[in-house]
């Protein structure tokens, strides 16, 4: 764990020092703000609907931010020739992956935290439960975690950042749109596909303030699976 935290510390510092980290954070907050203003604050709505609409926009932004954050983590290091420093140090591949994952998750958490002023604005003219806010944010972070793990896997298998971005975007799009495929398939396949979809069925309960254990387990499982796949990919590269 010490090594993972060491890697995470360096990555967080790198995000802070690079234009990319600031640019992604600023762009994410801008888009969330515009979305909130356009879809949440326009017209007269119930406070809970405004909050749900905010989480809907924030969840989409978070998925994109997670993939963008994950691209340079391994593919970028490979391109710059710095991955070899980690590969030849006495640390395990899983510590490299977990360290980088934690750093990117911390950045996503920070961006998410900064956005909290938007739900708080609802209290000016309306009322929502803090539980609804907390559950919605839990969903955002879990979704961000899963998208991040997917991005890390594509970053691990790619030789370049461009390739990682394309693969990450594609895989994320597939995972998100599985519910559409489910619509045109028969039982029991549609149930499986719908259950596997990253956003639709899984994220909606969080947006409405409903915390279901099965959805938490789903996001944790997706995160674990793709982080494990990224670790195994890193290990396998030594054989090639």
């Amino acid at each position: 764990m010490r090594n993972a935290l060491l890697v995470a510390g360096r990555e967080i510092g790198s995000y802070g020092r690079s234009l990319l980290g600031w640019a992604i954070g600023a762009a994410a907050l801008l888009v969330e703000g515009v979305w909130f203003s356009a879809n949440g604050l326009s017209g007269s709505r119930m406070s809970a609907d405004v909050l749900r609409e905010f989480f809907n926009g924030a969840s989409g932004v978070t998925m994109i931010v997670a993939v963008l954050m994950s691209i340079p983590l391994l593919a970028g290091e490979r391109e710059r020739g710095t991955l070899v420093l980690l590969n030849t140090a006495p640390i395990r591949d899983v510590e490299i992956i977990v360290g980088k994952y934690l750093a990117a998750l911390a950045m996503i958490g920070l961006i998410t935290l900064i956005s909290v002023y938007m739900p708080l604005l609802i209290f000016v003219n309306g009322k929502v439960s803090l539980g609804h806010v907390a559950v919605g944010y839990t969903g955002i972070v879990l979704l961000g975690s899963a998208a991040l793990a997917i991005g890390m896997f594509t970053s691990a298998v790619s030789r370049s950042q461009v390739m990682a971005a394309i693969l990450g975007g594609l895989l994320l799009a597939v995972m998100v749109t599985l519910w559409l495929v489910a619509k045109v398939t028969e039982p029991p396949v549609n149930g499986v596909l719908s259950g596997m979809a990253l956003h639709h069925q899984r994220q909606f309960p969080f947006m409405t303030g409903v915390l279901k254990l099965e959805n938490v387990v789903y996001y944790v499982a997706v995160t674990y699976f793709f982080l494990l796949a990224a670790t195994k990919t890193l290990e396998a590269r030594r054989w090639r």
Binding site: V84, N87, A89, R238
Partner: protein, 364 residues
């Protein structure tokens, strides 16, 4: 008499990239305290061998031991013993030199207190103290190379594995790097690679010439010179029939080969012959030529450079061996050597091999 302890012991190492054999069969050992140069053209297998030693790549078969530990069975322990500088130093441009070295030290297992103590020592040893607070991205190539060396020694490893540490440096930086490497001797056992003999011959105790993934020759520069430069060479410029001159010279006892090269001076019927012989045959050849009625204009002793012998050993297809004494060959002079070198290491096939070798399996 006790045998010195082998820090590196490689036995029948093979490494395949798909169907292509990059290394093997490769066997050698390096004893504690030695500075050994691994010499070979691009694509010869140097980087692959070094990456296997650094546990960045796994061997296809064979045994690779560092300090008695197998790189496949105990990679974690082996990595602790090694400081590795790849051909491109693994530097984070957005970090300062000091912060980067501190990170590298912690990564290699040093505690925070140990790293705090060790980093200034390494900055001093590698003459980086004056740039310690600068961003790595802003440093010159020579300084970046020094930072690369510094990260390799920051945890005080027993073995240093340096892939082309002198590559791309200007002459002043090369001298400084040589001094730095020499200063590390004793504290560390060092294995460094290069594709240019002159870059490392002055630094290393011993050279291993690698060709097609196998050791083609081994020894000190002096030993290689004595072993490989056994024939003497003479350059004779004559006026007369070229074929007759070659025939007469070839008939002299001890002459191994006679070759016409571009004449060193102009004039009708002027020919320069490059003669290789066991021992000094200049007097006998001159006598034979004059007796045969061929005009003798100039006699010079040709010197073969170890560099050209290395090129032959390393696999470049050249008949050269000449030095400045024979600037323009009719068949393959300096240009021939360069061309051969390019085709062996930097041409299409060589480039493909080299690219495969550099891949981190690939990518790094």
């Amino acid at each position: 008499m006790t045998k010195a302890f082998a820090v590196i012991e490689i036995v029948d190492l093979y490494k395949y990239y798909g169907e292509r054999r990059a290394v093997g069969p490769l066997s050698f050992s390096i004893e504690a305290g030695e500075i050994v140069g691994l010499l070979g053209l691009n694509g010869a297998g140097k980087t692959t061998t070094l990456r296997i030693l650094a546990c960045d790549l796994l061997p296809s078969s064979g045994s690779v031991r560092v300090n008695g530990l197998d790189v496949v069975e105990s990679p974690h322990e082996v990595r602790s013993l090694i400081g590795y500088l790849p051909d491109t130093p693994p530097l984070y441009g957005e970090m300062t030199v000091r912060a980067y070295l501190h990170f590298a030290a912690r990564l290699r297992g040093l505690s925070k207190a140990s790293a705090d103590k060790r980093v200034p020592e390494v900055l001093e040893a590698t003459a980086l103290a004056e740039v310690q607070d600068q961003l790595i991205a802003s440093l010159s190539h020579g300084y970046k190379q020094r930072v690369g060396i510094a990260q390799a020694i920051v945890h005080g490893p027993k073995l240093l594995v340096l892939d082309e540490p002198i590559s791309g440096l200007d002459p002043v930086q090369i001298v400084e790097m040589r001094e730095l490497l020499r200063s590390l001797k004793g504290e560390h056992t060092i294995l460094l690679s290069s594709h240019i003999l002159s870059e490392i011959s002055e630094t290393c105790d011993r050279l291993l010439v690698i060709r097609d993934g196998q050791i083609a020759a081994t020894g000190t520069e002096a030993e290689l010179s004595a072993k490989l430069l056994k024939n003497q060479r003479a350059l004779l410029t004559v006026r007369g029939d070229e074929e007759k001159a070659k025939e007469v010279a070839s008939a002299v006892a001890g002459v191994v080969s006679v070759e016409a090269i571009d004449a060193t001076e102009g004039g009708e019927g002027v020919v320069t012959l490059q003669i290789e012989s066991d021992g000094d045959a200049r007097e006998a050849v001159c006598r034979a030529l004059v007796t045969a009625g061929i005009g003798l204009l100039e006699v010079r002793r040709g010197e073969r450079e170890l560099e050209s012998v290395f090129l032959e050993l390393a696999g470049a297809e050249t008949t050269d061996g000449g030095s400045g004494a024979a600037p323009k060959k009719k068949r393959a002079g300096k240009k021939g050597a360069k061309k051969a070198r390019a085709s062996a290491g930097e041409g299409d096939a060589g480039a493909k091999d080299a690219a495969a070798e550099k891949e981190d399996g690939s990518g790094t």
